[in-house]
Chain length 213, copies 2
Amino acid sequence: MQPPSTRATVKRNAKRAQYDAGVIKDILAAQQICHVAFVEHGEPRLIPTLYYCDDEYLYLHGNRQSALLKHMAAGGEVCISVMLVDGYVIARSGFNCSMNYRSVSIFGKGEAVTDESHREALDQFVAVLVPGHEQAVREPTAQELAATAVVRIRLAEMAAKVRDGDPGDDEQDKASDVWAGVIPVSLQVGEPQPSADLRADIALPEYLQRFKG
Amino acid sequence: MQPPSTRATVKRNAKRAQYDAGVIKDILAAQQICHVAFVEHGEPRLIPTLYYCDDEYLYLHGNRQSALLKHMAAGGEVCISVMLVDGYVIARSGFNCSMNYRSVSIFGKGEAVTDESHREALDQFVAVLVPGHEQAVREPTAQELAATAVVRIRLAEMAAKVRDGDPGDDEQDKASDVWAGVIPVSLQVGEPQPSADLRADIALPEYLQRFKG
């Protein structure tokens, strides 16, 4: 696969680059928080935020007054990063110590989501946290719908960078006495904690049972 | 505490802002990966990378040819974000669903680390992955030292944003039948996996024992 543009071409450690859309979408499906960079008054700005993807777009939402949401709704340029850490790579030299990770960079212009898909998108932001809960919550009010902007970016100009496996030690270091290997790291989801004000007769619903320890 | 500047002032959900340096440094000490935004040819660029902090600075390193490292070494502006997700906040309305998180934003100009602290910084990038391993690895070669740039940003113009605790449901929603609460999320570190080429007589060193299950 070829990179889609110069700016989306991985320059450092290019052997770790992947441009296959399937690989990229699998990484996007494994996270929920992205970072979004944009330029304001010539300076870099950076916001971590929840996202979800469909086949064509990555969606963001937020307060309609947010500088990022306004920038993207007006078609402004952004650079989005999604990052998952999979392990600490412990090599025989400091130089070869590293991390195992999967990351995606997406470049492009924002666009506002204003038609009937605005409402559907808001449900998806609930579903991406806990699938099923979007069916349980009450209907949004007109005020809530009006306060929340949804924007998106096309999944077109993007690249993944992935490192996995053992440390890549220099040949002459492999005889050394230093321990080498990988310490795995992963996001762990714990047991649901009921809200202090939850009515005592409300049991954990079916769609949350899978989070039980 | 007052925000240090307009751009470092939390605008959305300002009640979640924290400007106390102690709070901010505790968050910085709990992560290892930051995102760094900068402007290149008027466009936003964004790089996830390892960092460590001392009392005054946040340090980054990388290939001397990296666009980000060159930009920061030349005193260029960056915006840095550190983000930890602590839980999914499951409310009775979609609008009040959220995440528990701790995040920090840092604004400022980069500077090169070129004196004797360059070498010391490289040790710290090993120590931040696995404390103790920096004592075990072999000395860096002159070539490795020359290939790796270190830059830093002063911990001065920064803000934290923190959400914790139960969902903040509207009063009129609290009688509803919908389950509400928090699903905890955390980074889990697993058991060290020896490299396939590790000599069989090398045991797990003392400083890695704490990662054992």
